[in-house]
Each structure stands twice: as C-alpha cells, then as structure tokens.
C-alpha cells in the first residue's frame, strides 16, 4: 500500500480542442481525488487549470501520463498566483484579505510579509487589494 499524496498542478492548454473530459478521467480511471482551484478553458482559446490531485504516487504518475497524451502542458510548480518580492513593499495590507494565511507577517520584528505559495487557493484577493501590484495571476 503506497502513501496517499497531494500534488498541486497547473495545466496549460495551448488551444485545447479535445473532447476528452480530463477531470472525469482522472477521477474514474486513475482513482484520484481532484480539487479545482481555478479554471479557464474555452474552445479555440488558450486555457489554464489549477488543481490539487490526491492519490498514490503511482496513480498520480499514470494520471499525468494520460494528461500528457493530450495537447496539455503540465506545470508541477503550479504558480497560478505569484508575488514579486522586489515589488512588494511589505506594508501588510493584503494579510487580512488572504483567507488561508498564505500571505502573513513572517517576522514580528521586521514585519516582513511572507508568501507561502503552497497555502494559496488562488482566490485572487491579494491582486485586488495590493496597492503596489506585487501580486499577479498567470491567467
């Protein structure tokens, strides 16, 4: 029995026109639990899908191989929302608007604002509230 793991993925669809329902197959054929954060997939246009998949390493591997057979790029670093550390003024305006605490005051003395990408659910609140446009979305 192998361990159950969760991986965050960002899928890029360069003009996706397959009829295949990806999430359906990931769930049914590979026994993966799928949590979609954000999706923008329109026929005839570029698309993006950010999701968590939970299952055994092996199942995830096989699921990814399936996705790979379609015209889809898999980005395992999954950075749908990024924070430009140089642009960030560390004011802390975003902190109370971040629902998961992915943006937080990391050091009480220097009051540095830290971005923990793994905790980000891509609600995009930080992009709306940042006065310095330090946060950005890949799509």
């Amino acid at each position: 029995m192998s361990d159950i793991v969760t991986k965050k993925l960002m899928l890029f669809f360069p003009r996706y026109d397959s009829e295949k329902p990806i999430i359906y197959h990931l769930v049914k054929d590979y026994n993966l639990e799928v949590k979609v954060y954000r999706a923008k997939v329109t026929p005839e246009e570029e698309g993006h899908l950010v999701l968590d998949v939970t299952g055994t390493e092996e199942a995830i591997q096989r699921g990814m191989e399936f996705v790979g057979t379609l015209n889809v790029t898999i980005n395992l670093t999954g950075k749908g929302v990024t924070r430009d550390a140089e642009r960030c003024a560390h004011c802390g305006h975003c902190v109370v608007h971040c629902p998961t605490g992915a943006l937080y005051i990391g050091n009480a003395a220097t009051r540095e604002v830290v971005y923990k990408e793994a905790d980000c659910i891509e609600c995009l609140a930080c992009i709306r509230v940042c006065p310095y446009a330090a946060c950005a979305s890949a799509f």
Partner: protein, 397 residues
C-alpha cells in the same frame, strides 16, 4: 547638552554613535537616560507609505524651434504647465488620460502620476507630448518626444504634505465594502487599516518639532533632501497624551529633494482600487541628541502612541469628526484590535519593513560621514489648527 556643531564634528571624525528609533528604546532601558545622552549623537527615524501630496518640478530644456508648453502629458498623464515655458509640475495622484476612474466602480487605477514618478527615477524612457498656442518667441505648436531623467535639466521632488505625525485607523461601519485611500475596508467592521511607522516615525519621535524644522536635511528616497516648510494641514494644536504624543494626524512636513539621486525602490506608484493613484515614498529623518529631553522623546514606544479609530463609510466622508475609540500601535501591530467589545483584524498601509531599512541606511550614511545634520533656519509653526472649508452661496455671505 550637545550642539549641532559638536555632533557634526563627531560625524566627520567617524566617531558618531548612531542608533535607529527602534534600537534606542532598549539602549536607554539598559544604559539610562543620562549615560545614553552622553553617548548617542543621532537617532534615525523613518517612514514608508502612500503620500498623496507629492510631486515634482521637471525642466525639459528648449527644443529647436522653441515651445512654450501650454498643455503637456508624460505617458498620457497630465502635467501642470501654468509656469515658465518648459517647466512642468507632475502630481502623484494625477490619473492617466482616458482612465475611466470610478465609472465602472471600483476603478482599478493601474497607472498615474505616482507611477510616472517611479518610472522616471527607475531611468525608464518616457513619452512627452506637449501642445502650445504658439508665440513669436516660442513658435513650435506641438512636440512629441521620448526622454529619461538624465535628459532633464532638473527633476526636483516637491511634496507639500508628507510624514503625517500620526493617522486615523480606518474602519467600515456600513454593510457595503468601502474603497478608500486607507485601502479596502470590509463591511461591518470586519477589518481596520492603519498607516504610520509608529515608534519609528519621524514626527512621533519629535512630537513638539524641537529638532525638525525648516532647513532640516532629510533622507528622501535615497537622496539628501530638505524640509522646506511645514506641510499643508500642519496642525500642531492637537489632542495629545499626557506625554505630549499627538493622538490624531497633527503635524506634517513639506519636503524637497533631487530626484536624480533617488532610488526607485523607495518611490513606488500606488493604485488604490476604487480610490485612485498615490505615491509610496520612503523618508528618513535624523534626530540630533542635543539633550536629555530630546533623547527621552525618541524612546517613544508603540504602546504609548494612540491612534483614533474612524468610520470611513460615513463619519470620515461626511466630516462628522466622530472618533469611535483610540488604540495603540502595539495593539495594531498585534494584528487585532478591540473596537466596542468586538475583535477586528488589522492591516497596514505603512511599511515598517521598509521604514526599518531606511532608518538603518540613514544611520549607516551618518556613521560613514556621508550625511551631516543641519540646524533648522526656522521652527515649524506652533499652535496651528486645521480650518474647514465653508460652502458659501455668494460672495457677501
């Protein structure tokens, strides 16, 4: 007792003892006021935050043939041309031409005066477009060109109101989100925003402006600038704690400095959704430790500084003057305050992180002997209050 001259002599000899307003607190706790006054020459203070009343005078030099600009835009941002031929004033809050502002509420305000100022200092090539009615001495009627800050004869920042001594904590009493220059305020007091460097802030370390005055040399975004006057709305006659610390906005400073010496990481265009454009600016002010009283005032702590909590859905816009309560910066920095028995999450618009960085950079410059202190040539006005604007129906009223 120490004089400015003695302090500058120590700076020149490389022996000056310089601490930040953050460090001086523990230092005095340990050494005592008397010994610390003897030892410490300068305490550095700083702040970084949106400062709307900022801008700059630019001089373009003359084209061939010459032009007297009567209307001009830099990167489509309108600049003021009601001065001499090729001088303009660029204001931080000016919107870009064609920005829909709040027509589709809340507007995004992605680019404006503050961003042009940042881009200028970052050395970017910018577009100038100017129109003129044409005169005998200035015949050219239209000009479109591209320039960088190096092409300009002068680029002088002139900010009528910076460095508020203290400031409101904004909260939202309504059931609708409020978009303000104090950031995004969720309905029903879900969050509060403050904007001050607290114990590190220049005018909170010199609450009666005993050392900061007209002519004081300051650190303005990396350049050596000056206080040229009291800031607009300077209101030294304000509510104070028993220790003399202002409990409201109170004092302000008018600042100037050479933009060619500035660093863009301390001059940042700011976009407030639903409100508009501003300029995030970093300022450092050295305080000469002339005597024990001056030193004691630099030991102010976040817990001793109180800020008024004000509703930005009704009381602020309607100018009712109502203050819900006062909270300390220590409470604000904990991330949660209590307002009328309920806990409220707190965010900030002022960057303590950058302010600390500036206080340390300024301290290093002084220690290296690159920054001298200046005695003010005039004090800031005492006992000034802020007058409201009366809405009069006619001239005789």
């Amino acid at each position: 007792m120490k004089s400015y001259e003695q302090i500058n002599d120590r700076i020149e000899s490389g022996k000056a003892v310089v601490l930040t307003a953050d460090e001086i607190i523990d230092y005095v706790d340990e050494k005592g006021v008397e010994a610390a006054t003897e030892e410490v020459d300068v305490v550095t203070t700083a702040t970084f935050g949106p400062m709307c009343s900022s801008g700059c005078f630019l001089n373009f030099g003359h084209s061939k043939p010459k032009v007297r600009m009567s209307e001009a835009w830099i990167e489509d941002v309108l600049v003021y041309t009601g001065i001499a031929a090729v001088d303009v004033y660029l204001g931080a809050t000016q919107l870009r031409h064609g920005d829909p502002a709040n027509m589709y509420y809340p507007g995004e305000f992605r680019y404006g005066g503050g961003h042009v100022i940042e881009d200028l200092i970052a050395g970017k090539k910018l577009q100038l477009f100017a129109l003129s009615y044409g005169t005998d001495c200035y015949p050219l009627r239209e000009m479109r060109t591209y320039f960088t800050i190096d092409d300009l004869n002068q680029a002088i920042m002139v900010n009528p109101r910076n460095c508020y001594q203290n400031y409101n904590v904004a909260i939202n009493d309504s059931d609708q989100r409020v978009h303000s220059y104090m950031g995004s305020l969720e309905p029903n007091r879900k969050n509060a925003n403050y904007c001050s460097a607290g114990q590190l802030s220049p005018l909170l370390n010199d609450p009666f402006c005993e050392t900061i005055g007209v002519g004081t040399t300051i650190w303005l975004a990396g350049a050596q600038g000056h206080v040229y006057a009291e800031g607009t709305q300077h209101a030294s006659d304000c509510a104070r704690t028993p220790d003399g610390i202002p409990m409201e906005g109170a004092g302000t400073l008018a600042l100037t400095g050479d933009m060619k010496q500035m660093r863009s990481e301390f001059v940042r265009g700011v976009s407030f959704r639903g409100y508009g454009i501003s300029l995030g600016l970093g300022v450092g002010v050295p305080i000469p430790i002339l005597n024990q009283d001056v030193l004691k005032r630099t030991c102010v702590r976040d817990r001793d500084i109180l800020a008024p909590v004000v509703d930005y859905s009704n009381d602020y816009p309607q100018n009712t003057g109502k203050v819900i309560c006062h909270v300390s910066y220590e409470q604000l920095r904990s991330g949660e305050i209590e307002v009328e028995g309920r806990k409220v999450a707190v965010g900030s618009l002022s960057s303590y992180y950058k302010a600390l960085e500036i206080a340390n950079l300024l301290a290093d410059e002084i220690r290296r002997g690159d920054f001298r202190l200046t005695e003010p040539i005039a004090p800031l006005p005492k006992d000034t209050a802020m007058k409201p604007l009366a809405a009069r129906e006619n001239r005789d009223e």
